[in-house]
């Protein structure tokens, strides 16, 4: 594995984690809005 490949291999995981973080925050916001719209509880 080249140094560039190894660097990408090490840093891709925090980038992927950040993508998951944004996805979860957006989904949570949608959960909150849906619960308010339907007048029910989220949990």
């Amino acid at each position: 594995m080249t140094v560039f490949g190894l660097t990408a291999y090490i840093l891709v995981w925090p980038v992927l984690s950040a993508v998951v973080l944004l996805l979860l925050l957006a989904a949570f916001a949608k959960d909150v809005l849906d619960a308010r719209k339907n007048g029910g509880d989220m949990l």
Partner: protein, 551 residues
């Protein structure tokens, strides 16, 4: 090679971080607290949790304190492929259970525990086998997480091990006890967000503080040939294979996963579990890279303990604010798993012990809730005491692993095949555990014909694992073909070879024997089970009790 001393947070900073963390989670739990909690909500919420909350909860629950340390140890020991062989298979446990989870939900949409469905499907002995295996698993997990809290606090602060254990135990119990599973899911979300932010900051920060790509280029000779091989056979055989074999066993044996399968909105099971697979893999493999970086720079683990790798890396290459972030990362991971274990234990006691046994099917919701909260207090006390005693739990882990491997085939097939009986289930698990013990502890000499017999059972076990994994996604025909092909492909390699790997041989034997006995005994029975009965027999406790009161 160099050994570094550990940076320590001050007592006041440590107490501020711990008190802030647990106070924030406690206040969060108050947002959703109700004066009179619903017993079903206490165990599985409203059976319709949204995608964001349920995916976050699944990731946070599956990431426990050991995840980071074990992943980093794998990176340090096996090099480039090490973290993959820890994190990937752990992530696949989440992925491979969801097709079966969709079946569980379809047949028993109001279930609280998997053991409860086994009671409706088979009866008492199958239910208790599953419930006991779940209880042991959650107790071990609770103890390990409290131990990790003590270790973290004693390593990174002047506070003692026991003080760390006590703070974690009281903190987790305080925000979980009133609203149960609902509090666990909501706080999981916040804990996971904190954990991801910490991971996203810590990994690149350490990498560039070490010197980034230039450091990699300069230190490449520190890796052996096997460690620099992405497809290292050694890493797969020693780290990956035993874990791959356990993929379905861990998922089936864990009530924390079952609870989330029953709680998420039914049409969101697939996206929730796929997202959780990616999220878990990214965080755990990412933190495992710290072990790989430690290998590159020639770091020597303090006291020879691999669990010190991540704290050493953090304390040497992070500024104080980021060490605080690291502290929150570990406390968040162990707390989110510990609260899930408390909820799992309380659900099993409420449903399978009080609901189905003590109350004989007509439970009082108030008393049921009391039993749930009492279980949480008792489990926390036991967890704190056992963690403080620092017991060697290796033997317990071995047995629970055997039990989980033995129940995989009978539990899963009980949801698909109408001929499996209670007798087949019980005999399959009993004989599989017995054969596991013989192979694991070499009670018989693993030579000659005896070794060949066990290797043949293990080969069937390979077929069972591969077949079940394919069956979940692609159905009966593909599952059977994959199982047969995997067993046939493995046969030449297992005879004369597996006898030297007692851990792998015994685990695979457990799968193989369990499947053979379960199928053989079931085929001798003419009983047929009507799966529609599960929905009639597994009901909401609060609603059914209210209906009974009205009649």
């Amino acid at each position: 090679m160099h050994e570094t001393a550990l940076f320590q947070l001050s007592t006041s900073t440590t107490i501020l971080l711990l008190a802030g963390f647990y106070l924030a989670t406690f206040l969060m739990s108050l947002i959703i607290g109700k004066r009179h909690e619903n017993v079903d909500g206490y165990m599985v919420s409203n059976n319709a949790i949204g995608f964001g909350l349920s995916a976050a909860s699944m990731i946070a629950t599956w990431i426990w304190a050991a995840s980071f340390y074990a992943s980093a140890s794998a990176g340090y020991k096996f090099g480039i492929s090490g973290p993959i062989h820890y994190g990937l298979w752990g992530a696949l446990m989440i992925l491979f259970i969801y097709p079966f989870g969709m079946r569980f939900r379809k047949l028993a949409p109001k279930a609280h525990t998997l053991a409860e469905i086994m009671y409706a499907r088979h009866g008492k002995s199958s239910q208790m086998i599953l419930a006991i295996s779940n209880i042991i698993g959650s107790c071990i997990s609770l103890m390990v997480n409290f131990t990790a809290a003590g270790a973290l606090v004693s390593v990174l602060s002047p506070l003692s091990f026991i003080q760390g254990v006590l703070i974690a135990g009281v903190g987790v119990l305080s925000y979980t006890i009133w609203s149960g599973f609902r509090a666990s899911v909501l706080t999981d979300f916040a804990q996971l967000i904190a954990m991801i932010i910490a991971a996203v900051v810590i990994i690149p920060l350490i990498f560039f503080n070490l010197g980034g790509p230039d450091m990699l280029a300069a230190n490449m000779p520190n890796l052996s040939l096997a460690q620099s091989d992405f497809f290292s056979t050694e890493a797969f055989l020693q780290q990956g294979a035993p874990y791959l074999v356990a993929v379905l066993a861990y998922a089936i044996g864990n009530q924390t996963i079952a609870q989330r399968l029953f709680a998420v909105r039914e049409d969101l099971i697939r996206p929730t579990f796929i997202t959780a697979t990616v999220g878990y893999g990214a965080i755990v493999i990412g933190l495992g890279m710290l072990g790989l970086l430690a290998l590159f720079i020639g770091l020597k683990p303090l006291d020879g303990n691999m669990n010190n790798i991540i704290p050493q890396m953090a304390s040497t290459y992070l500024p104080p604010f980021a060490i605080g972030l690291f502290f929150v990362l570990v406390i968040g991971s162990l707390s989110s798993t510990a609260d899930a274990d408390l909820c799992a234990l309380s659900a099993i006691v409420m449903t399978d012990i009080y609901g189905k046994s003590l109350a004989r099917g007509t439970p009082n919701p108030k008393r049921m809730l009391f039993w749930g909260r009492f279980t949480m207090v008792a489990a926390t006390m036991l967890g704190v005491v056992f963690a403080s005693l620092r017991l060697d739990i290796l033997m317990m882990l071995v047995f629970v692993g055997a039990l989980w491997g033995a129940i995989v085939f009978p539990v899963i097939m009980s949801f698909y095949w109408d001929r499996i009986t209670n007798k087949a289930f019980t005999l399959a698990v009993g004989s599989a555990v017995a054969m596991f013990v013989v192979a694991r502890f070499e009670l018989l000499p693993m030579t000659g014909a005896i070794a060949v017999v066990f290797e043949l059972f293990a080969t069937v076990g390979v077929g069972v694992v591969a077949g079940l994994m394919a069956f979940g996604f692609f159905g009966k025909k593909v599952g059977a073909i994959c199982g047969l092909l995997a067993a046939a492909a493995m046969l030449p390699y297992s005879i004369g070879f597996l006898r030297d790997y007692a851990v792998l041989l015994s685990a695979l034997t457990s799968y193989g024997v369990s499947a053979i006995v379960c199928v053989t005994v079931s085929l001798r029975s003419n009983q047929r089970f009507d799966f529609d009965l599960l929905d009639e027999r597994v009901v909401s406790f609060q609603r059914s009790t209210a209906a009974l009161a009205r009649t």
